[in-house]
Symmetry: C2
């Protein structure tokens, strides 16, 4: 942990210890939470068959946390987070997997991404011609 982060953590803990009892009940204390140390990145990705999220039922949904560490029910959270960090959280900027072979079958699936990326709210939706095309977009993010 860098020195500044350690100092921030120490100050936070001290402030909580000092100010906590003054705040009345524990509930009344504002509690700085992890936000004092990093901007949160927590997402839900879903996929369903159809043309748009408005009409498609979500058939699968996974969570993806990228701060402070990669976790969630996404099958490869560390790589998915790494990819998103590379694009600065821009889902349209994900690269296509090299050498992916997909049929031209039209069986559209719609992917949604909602939540927070580095403190900013995310509401993303993208439709792919079929599941294979979805999985070849980005290396890992949409493969769930």
């Amino acid at each position: 942990m860098p020195t500044t982060a350690r100092w921030a953590a120490t100050l936070t803990l001290t402030a909580t210890a000092v100010c906590g009892p003054l705040g009345g009940t524990a509930l009344a204390a504002p509690g700085p939470g992890p936000s004092a140390l990093y901007a949160p990145s927590a997402l839900v990705l879903s996929v369903g068959h159809g043309h748009s999220a408005a009409t498609a039922t979500a058939e699968r949904a996974v969570t993806l946390n990228c701060a402070p560490t990669a976790s969630g029910t996404h099958p490869d959270a560390p790589r998915a987070c790494a990819e998103l960090r590379e694009t600065g959280g821009d889902f349209d900027a994900l690269s296509v997997r090299a050498g992916a072979m997909c049929t031209k079958q039209f069986d559209p699936v719609v992917v949604t991404v909602d939540g927070v990326w580095q403190g900013k709210r995310v509401a993303y939706e993208r439709t792919f011609a079929n599941e294979c095309v979805k999985n070849s977009y980005g290396m890992n993010v949409f493969t769930f």
Copy 2:
């Protein structure tokens, strides 16, 4: 597991075994995923200071999975999921914690909930007068 569910699981596995190789590459196979067995419930909850999510920065964000089991970075995922199951995923129907004591200080916080509840997409936003009022709404869901 009820007999029907066990049959469904068996049929799904059989279908995958029979049809998988015919689908070409592994990517091309649609892959029923967990959706064949249960409707997904995966949410991101965020909180930030302000009147509306459009203007407030998300200061904290947690994930909450409620199917097939409770997990996520929410501090009490099992209880939060139980509460949501009681209301059928209706965030407006959460009860207020009995005996909660909050000041009338106006320091609004806005909570958002996005993702999927039992296969249906969720986009919820609610503003509370202060953090204490937020934490007293519902027993555990919004206490993060």
